[in-house]
Amino acid sequence: MRDNLERVTIVLAKEQHQRFKDYSKKYHSSVSQFLRLAGENELDENDGVDDLKLRPIFEQLEKTSTNVQVMQRTLQKLEKEIDSITEQKRRKDEYIANHIEELLLSSGNKLSIPEIAGYLPYEQEKIIRGIEKLEERFVVVRIKQINGMSKWKIRGDPNDNN
């Protein structure tokens, strides 16, 4: 026996052994040669099939991973934009609220939204937002009018009984 070979004993069913022997004889080979070839074929075949089957899945996974990364970057960008828009809106609202506060403080009167809009160069909608801000800062007091529009006055006026 050559040095690079190793002897192994295998157990086969009698019929199985006969079938292998017949097959080997038919192709002028030995049972050992037949079993070696059969083993190698089995290994080659399975390795190849696994690679072939898994390749599209791996490719799809890689694509998905890239897509997730792109989505994450887009989300981060969106978050920053939301923050920036919110901050800009906040500053604008505060600016208008400060003007309304100055007006109410200097006039000393209670004023309705349209009356405030008559003094200040802002859209009525912005003035409403400014008044909301001032209410949230506890700067003004709302005076409800029976059958009429609410009016606002600076909070803390000692002459005010409301």
Binding site: E79, D83, T86, K89, Q124, I128, E135, S150, G156
Partner: protein, 167 residues
């Protein structure tokens, strides 16, 4: 100038503030969140309330973080009583390995901190608990959630604070 009454009144259903309280439970030596309660309100009224209490803390946090993101997006200030509410929340988020969370631009006001800095409670200046403080301020606690009490306290102390503190 629009003088139709419908265009001349503030939106009294607006959500200006988010009063927020958590129920903390000690578990294996650390503070865990067993429940939370949120009350959206404005200077004139309470608008809506949401709450959750369950044993799965991670699920609990998910619902809570959804509400907090809503606040962040809509520029709603979060008002808590204790100063440690948000730090506890941050710790639990890290503990549960929850990613893609941001508290950036979230505005948080702690009433406990306001009391400590702007009111006087004797020489040692130890801030009372929420129930003690409500009793002293004669705010009725019967059948009222903690967040509703926070709303009342905030409206009571808010006008006395210097500019910039709650803005």
């Amino acid at each position: 100038m629009i003088d139709n009454i419908w265009f001349c009144e503030p939106n009294d259903a607006r959500e200006s503030w988010c009063f927020f309280a958590i129920k903390v439970k000690k578990q294996d030596g650390s503070d865990t969140i067993a429940g939370w309660e949120i009350c959206f309100a404005n200077p004139n009224r309470t608008v809506r309330k949401v709450a959750d209490a369950q044993s799965d803390e991670k699920e609990l946090l998910k619902g809570l973080l959804h509400e907090l993101y809503y606040c962040r997006k809509n520029d709603i200030k979060i008002i808590t009583f204790e100063t440690n509410t948000i730090p506890i929340l941050r710790t639990r988020i890290i503990f549960h390995d929850i990613h893609n969370i941001s508290f950036r631009s979230l505005q948080v006001i702690s009433i406990q901190k306001l009391l400590q800095e702007h009111l006087f409670f004797g020489e040692d200046n130890s801030v009372p608990s929420i129930s003690d403080f409500c009793s002293r301020m004669k705010i009725g606690r019967q059948d009222r959630d903690e967040t509703e009490l926070l709303h009342d306290i905030f409206k009571r102390i808010g006008p006395l604070l210097p500019p910039g503190v709650i803005e």
